[in-house]
Symmetry: C2
Subunit: 430 residues, 2 copies
């Protein structure tokens, strides 16, 4: 018998909010936010949402009113008491009080700044301006909202049984992936799929499937809210926005050349152990590693987020050896465009040579490829990036020219400063 | 674990439709509709919604856009195949093929005509104009929509547990009523609560409670859709709109005096047995019975829908005796403002003297009195009536002057023609 009170309650929501918590975000955002809050809190930044998949015409698919409602709802959020208690009291990476009291006090009182939204050429231009520690909090929820509104736009014309079958198929596919991974020895795998998930509920379901199916091989999720709810580890360290903004702020070519190391020097002061993970590809991995100070070689690991992943790992191993470090004690985290077969291949290739870990993103939490006509639920490449800092444009090169970002003349300057030559073109899947 | 497909399905409805079927209406509407379709199908009528409870400011409570969406949804409805099969094939009042093929063919293709909606003085002015067989179908869904939108307006600010407790209390109250009625011998009770129900789901729940709690004492429901779903009898015969429209069409005082009998003459041709129920109060019961032809005394029963119910029943018994009929073989149906104590009192008073039956309406399906602050869910007196026919105003007098309707000069004329004197004032509860 239908529970009338529950049904009435469910039906009186004006909207079905996608992001319902400020910690429904990637854990590393909070770590970076604390670092920015300490070191660069007065920096003015602009973040901008960019859809690299032009064929997915978001502004035609997603109603502007609904998008605004979802974004307005996010602006109405503030940290709940339980969330605050969790952040203040939980152990992250083996450490209590990872978040300092001054940061927590600020975070408890923060709400997200205004957004600017326009339609152009079938796409949304969505930008956020303001102080860096506030604006940066928009990235993940903005992406998650657009991704899920796109899912809903496709789901809205489907019947009840079509939906049942759709989710049955997606769940079957997910479980078959989990089963394939069960046989992989020494696997260490985390969910990195918040930003391009099919939906919040689906990401949560993916985490539960990995908990049940992979046991200790599943080491945690980047999603802070899901980590709290499902009592798994919150995973993540730092991202490109740090070197991008530090670099944009650099006053000279010399300062620019130094900026990516300055970021990690600040990080070095704050964090130790498994949080000391180098993300070397912002302006080309080769140049970065060649110019790196020795204390960086002492860090725990490297995250490989662009370029050919096996090449990236080989490069890291060579670099550690050249600095007298033992690669078998080092951690390589793969986090770019992973799916099961690639995970299995990389694990087989590097197991025993380095410690290996995987941050599995879009093809974990949004593999609805081929499940609806015209592949309308296939994941697509949406990003939200810092595009300027204190009025200067940011630049990203990465190890894949298709992921490059910034004004052409600045890209040229960065390539010169960082000594980046030809790069290998790799299709950006997600 | 939440069923994602079901949740997605439920959340993608643009509205939560209140009336989802053309047979979510009172059974007697369909009987009358068939009669009108046969005898007066080209009559132009106007029906108008009237809120007698002026303190319930519907236009302040209920959003006009939501109201229009609900009414538009009703206009999009047509008879489903299963509903048609049910109407064509089910036994009603012991008779197969109650609905004739020509009527069914028309009904299968009908959709409800346009409505006219305005706000005035905190109330909605909602009118329907067109051919009688189509316009008359608006009455019950229009009332049900306004009633349920008012419920929703009050429920929308309540929390999840408040709602649980609200429905727990209402269900407890309903069940205590059922338990009180379990001890009443020879009880025959039907649900007449469609038009002023709290909500569709609640009416459906009330029917289930009576099925479980009252067994054979529960004889059926006026709601055709619920009768079909719950496999109980569909109950109802005819209503005031027939004599009101027939009377408005009368060309002379003499024809007017005859009109209420003409209605029943047409009905006599179509129906027999328990469908031959006199509704005598439209222009005063005393005059109606005094002037009634003898063949009407041979009808099965009388429905008492206004005035003091015990007086009305005594009057009917006297009348039958005066016409040489045996009242113990006759049926009295009480249907005005009933609740448990009144039902028990009337049953005790008339059991054995006549056959007694009860049509329990608003205080069955909408007894939320005292359950929320300011009694915001208390039932109120909303009606939807024929106000003109072929351009002439209709009139209703009833046995309670507070229920009188029509232009003052026409009311005076009708009182003169039907010889209606002083009437006793009775508060209109619902």
């Amino acid at each position: 018998m239908v529970d009338i009170a529950t049904r009435v309650y469910n039906h009186k929501w004006k909207i079905d909010p996608i992001v319902r918590s400020l910690i429904d975000t990637d854990f590393y955002k909070l770590l970076m936010c604390q670092s920015v809050f300490r070191n660069k809190r007065d920096t003015n930044v602009t973040f901008s949402l960019i859809n690299r998949s032009k064929d997915v015409r978001l502004a035609d698919l997603v109603d502007e009113g609904e998008l605004r409602e979802q974004l307005d709802h996010i602006r109405s959020l503030s940290l709940s008491r339980g969330e605050s208690t969790f952040l203040r009291g939980n152990t992250f990476y083996g450490k209590r009080q990872m978040f300092r009291p001054d940061f927590m006090e600020w975070f408890e009182n923060v709400s997200l700044p205004a957004y600017h939204l326009e339609k152009r050429d079938g796409q949304y231009e969505l930008t956020f301006e303001g102080k860096w520690p506030e604006v940066m909090l928009w990235e993940i929820p903005a992406l998650a909202v657009l991704m899920e509104l796109r899912s809903r736009a496709v789901l809205k014309d489907m019947g009840r049984f079509e939906l049942q079958v759709l989710y049955a198929r997606a769940m079957t596919r997910l479980w078959e992936k989990v089963e394939k991974l069960q046989g992989v020895d020494d696997l260490r795998l985390a969910d990195f799929g918040t930003r391009r998930r099919h939906s919040f509920m689906w990401q949560d379901r993916c985490v539960q499937a990995m908990q049940e199916g992979l046991g200790d091989k599943f080491v945690g999720t980047s999603n802070c809210l899901i980590a709290m709810r499902r009592e798994v580890e919150a995973i993540g360290t730092n991202a490109h926005e740090l070197p991008m903004v530090y670099s944009a702020l650099a006053e000279s070519d010399e300062a620019l050349r130094q900026a990516p190391y300055d970021v990690l020097a600040d990080w070095h002061e704050e964090h130790e152990g498994n949080l000391r993970i180098i993300l070397p590809d912002t302006y080309g991995t080769d140049g970065f590693l060649a110019g790196a100070p020795d204390w960086l070689a002492g860090w725990t690991g490297i995250r490989i987020d662009s370029g050919d992943p096996a090449e990236g790992a080989e490069r890291a191993i060579r670099w550690w050896k050249s600095r007298g470090e033992d690669p078998t004690q080092k951690l390589v985290i793969f986090s770019d465009g992973l799916d099961v077969d690639k995970i299995i291949e990389l694990q087989a290739k590097f197991r025993g040579r380095v410690r290996v870990s995987f941050g599995w993103g879009t093809l974990l939490t949004n593999d609805f490829r081929g499940l609806v006509p015209n592949d309308g639920l296939a994941p697509f490449s949406l990003v939200c990036k810092a595009v300027s800092a204190n009025g200067r444009p940011t630049v990203k090169l990465s190890d894949n020219p298709r992921k490059a970002m910034g004004p052409a003349e600045e890209i040229a300057r960065y390539k010169r400063v960082f000594g980046v030559g030809d790069q290998k073109d790799i299709a950006v899947v997600v």
